[in-house]
Amino acid sequence: MNTDTGTLLEINDLFVQYKTERAISNALNGLTMRIKKSESMGLVGETGAGKTTTALSILNLLPKPAGKIVSGEIIYNGNSIIDMSSNQLRDIRGNKISMIFQNPLTSLNPVFTVGEQIRMVIQKHKKVSKREADNMSKELLEIVGISGGRIHDYPNQFSGGMRQRVGIAAGIALNPELLIADEPTTALDVTIQAQILELMKKLKTQYDTSLLMITHNLGIVSELCESVSVIYGGRIIEYGSVRSVFGDPTHPYTNGLLGAIPLLDGKKDRLHAIPGDIASATNVPSGCAFHPRCELADERCRMEIPQIVGIKENHFVACFKKTEGL
């Protein structure tokens, strides 16, 4: 762990709501998170737990007018992202903080060649001539393993995995300090997933970029990340180094998640399933959001929200039952 390097991104007690005509959905409920320089952090959780909302909040790109940051702060390199003007934000997006999207089939514009799309990103942030930008695009494509001669091809001439590589090339074009990857492998099949992960691993070591890897695939996290945050009901409920969290999962939810993974060796038993459904964002349970599904829950869990507490170095848990004795 790079405990000695500084904090790159800090999210403190972030509340985000989506307001529609019918309901108010509390997507994030006091999310707190810290990403250090050149750290790779995995953010895992079920569908609807607030993973993508977290990513969009970091770029201040919540869908308007429904999405709104109610309270909390997002500090990037000492500056509050929430208070930035749209010019400052555009300067940061793509340049300092960049994002790779989930669905490579829709995240590229079908009417531009891949070269043009990468070039637009470069020219947006750097004063370079068209030719230089084209050469940079070519290099970037080579880096992600696509022949540079293909910059004049349209996205539909590429396969899904290759399009995701193009997306990655556009994301790393300006060598960002933080790369947010929002389930970059979900839409791809397993062998291509492995290739993309291999590529991201390589790029990470090469460019020393911080990475926020959003996924519900715990395997990806243990493969690629140093630390992991588990999100449930819009809050981080367990956080720590991958080794510690996966080796000794403490929160009942993390425990359940890991119990739901089939093992290749050992005895073949029925997989453990967490009872119930994920906490609804329109009606978040009081107290600990996980209490309706938790075997250990008691009166206190229903009333109070547990704070996240360190149980050892680099391992923090938000659960009364597990942290009571400490």
């Binding site: 340049n95 829709t106 990103v121």
Partner: protein, 267 residues
């Protein structure tokens, strides 16, 4: 392909009509009235499509009339496409109150029958070519606005818009450089159809003598002149009628062809 070639021929013919025509399309020559078509028996010197009731050469009038028709259609289509597209893009991209205002205004415009509105406005402003263009723009921009708005709304929610925002693109860049190229295909089809529609409407208004005014020939007022002679001297109506039909068809075909050529998914 057929459309492109035919449209090109029509445009070239009307551009070079002063060189081709041998007769003055406006002066009367009563001794030669109602001559039947000679086709190309005397080459370009004959009355290829015959003469009308005032002895004017129909071929010459046809070519001169095409200049007005095409000029009016081109101005109307480009102006209304420009206005409609900009308003539609703003409406679709920004949504909210802007969208509501623009769309309600469009619906008010759509509630009034085009031709009736055109007749009313022409009757008030007085028939001349400039007013004709204004009237046709007023009645046709709504279609571009609706089309662009709906397509922009669809494209706006595709992930690449979010992706380009996440990579630092500005609103106007996204609207005009990222979203707009995705809706041009449908626009081109609409433009070509509207081109045909505009020529037809212009002809209708001229037919009702609210458009191009005599003695300047227009296909519409040529048909109007000829309708009294339809049984006895049908060429007076057939020549402009067929020209009208071929032109409208050609531009529709052209639109279809352009759509196929411009489709980025075509390999």
């Amino acid at each position: 392909m057929v459309g492109a070639v035919t449209a090109l021929i029509i445009i070239l013919l009307s551009l070079f009509s002063p060189v081709i025509v041998k007769y003055n399309p406006i002066t009367n020559s009563l001794r030669e009235r109602l001559l039947p078509p000679e086709y190309f028996a005397r080459g370009l010197n004959g009355h290829i499509f015959g003469t009308d009731d005032l002895g004017r050469d129909i071929f010459s009038r046809l070519l001169l009339g095409s200049r007005y028709s095409l000029f009016i259609a081109a101005s109307v289509v480009s102006l209304s496409a420009l206005i409609g597209t900009i308003l539609g893009a703003i409406s679709g991209y920004f949504g909210g109150i802007v969208d509501i205002l623009i769309m309600r205004f469009c619906e008010i415009m759509m509630a009034i029958p085009n031709l009736v509105l055109a007749i009313a406005v022409m009757a008030i402003l007085g028939p001349n070519i400039f007013n004709l263009i204004i009237v046709l723009v007023i009645t046709s921009w709504v279609q571009y606005c609706k089309l662009t708005r709906n397509n922009v709304m669809v494209v706006r929610n595709v992930e690449f818009v979010k992706a380009s925002q996440a990579l630092g693109a500005s609103k106007w860049h996204i609207m005009f450089s990222q979203i707009f190229p995705n809706v041009t295909t449908q626009l081109i089809i609409l433009i070509s159809q509207q081109f045909g529609w505009t020529i037809l409407t212009e002809a209708s208004l001229s037919f009702l003598s609210l458009g191009v005014q005599p003695p300047i020939p227009s296909w519409g007022n040529m048909i109007a002149d000829g309708r009294n002679y339809l049984i006895t001297h049908p060429w007076m109506v057939f020549a402009p009628g067929i020209a009208l039909m071929i032109t409208v068809l050609a531009f529709n075909f052209l639109g279809d062809g352009l759509r196929d050529v411009l489709d980025p998914k075509r390999i």
